[in-house]
Each structure stands twice: as C-alpha cells, then as structure tokens.
Symmetry: C2
Subunit: 116 residues, 2 copies
C-alpha cells in the first residue's frame, strides 16, 4: 500500500553534496532502515542472500523459528521497500533478494552524512 518509489531515491544518483536532507528523503531513508530494524528480518534477508535463489514461504518457515503468518508479515514489509521481490508460481509464491539494495544503503548513508 505505502510502497516507495525507488527511482526517485538516491539509489540511482551519484551526486551527494553534504547539504541538508529534505523531510521526504529523511522519511524514505528511515523507512529503509526500519525495514531491517528487526533481527528476524535481518536473518530472513540473510537467508535469502545465502541461498542465492528464490524461496517459497514454506521453505523459509522451515528455516526460521517463527510461524508462517509471521514470515508472511515480514516478507510483506521487506517487499514494500523492495528489498525482496515476489513472484507467484502456481500455488506458491517465490521470494528473492533484490540485489539493488546492496547499493541503496551506502547511498542513503552518504546522503545523510555527506561524503567527507
């Protein structure tokens, strides 16, 4: 619902002067950080990255100590900020890491702190 448009973020921009951040950018970056502000979501993303393949919800549930609905909840949060990508295949949904988030985090830090 409240998905974020990644193309307008600093993810794909190179300029990064150390000026003040707009309130909108601050909210965007905070939303990115909030998506990973839970240990189980960090483990979930790390699991998907380590497996290097798209996984179903059932496979993930078998690897994490939380219930199915909670995994679905976390996947929704990660998908809303596009850290994971979802694709329905028949009766199941496969989730995989969005490799672009490898760049957006350092870019957010540079935007916040300026590059000295």
């Amino acid at each position: 619902m409240t998905s974020i448009d990644y193309r307008r973020s600093s993810m794909n921009e190179t300029e990064c002067e150390p000026g003040p951040l707009s309130h909108e950018d601050a909210a965007t970056y905070a939303a990115w950080f909030k998506a990973l502000a839970d240990p189980m979501r960090v483990r979930l993303l790390n699991l998907l990255a380590a497996e290097r393949r798209a996984m179903t919800v059932g496979e993930i549930v078998a690897r994490l100590p939380i219930g199915q609905s909670t995994v679905s909840h976390h996947l929704r949060i990660l998908a809303e900020v596009r850290f994971v990508l979802a694709e329905r295949q028949g009766t199941s949904t496969r989730y995989e890491v969005n490799g672009a988030c490898l760049e957006c985090f350092p870019a957010a830090v540079r935007a916040i702190m300026g590059q000295p």
Copy 2:
C-alpha cells in the same frame, strides 16, 4: 546501558564471505538500523553532519520541530549505538557525529547480503 561493542562488529573487518549470519550479529545489525529507523533521528544525524561541528542540545532543539526532552531521547538512542559522541563541557553537553558509522552501515549490508 545496553551499549554495543563496536570492535567485535564487522565494522573493522574486511573478510565477508556470503555465509549465514549468527543470531547475535543479526541482532547487532538490526540495532544499528533501528537507531536510524525514525525520520527525526535521520534529520538529527544529518543536521550534525551538515554543521560539521559539535552542537549542544539547545542548538539542536532550535533547529528541529520537537521538544527538548525528545531531542535528548533521540540523542541517547544515537549515542547508545555510537552514531554520535557526547562530551560534557561545563554546563552543557556537545554532541557530534561519529565518522565511523560511514563505514559500518555498508559493512553490515555486506555481511547480511554477501558481496557478489
């Protein structure tokens, strides 16, 4: 109180194989992200970084649309994870950015996602 020891994190390490993360590391990285999971804290850190100097709480209060106790609360959260450093000078306390957090965020992302 629940401060985090930065020396045991991946901030100062270069190796970063794409293996699974320990639960403790996942919690540590989640704590880092949680510290910036609020728009006002992002703006606060950006303000300190843009000014490029140590600021008192009063100066920060004059620049952000929140009260003094709330600024102090946010500064405590940022200081607990060492994103800002505090130093008492006489009757006031000066806060400044810890430049090391420019590296720890990309390092955390690499540890979670592996470097492909």
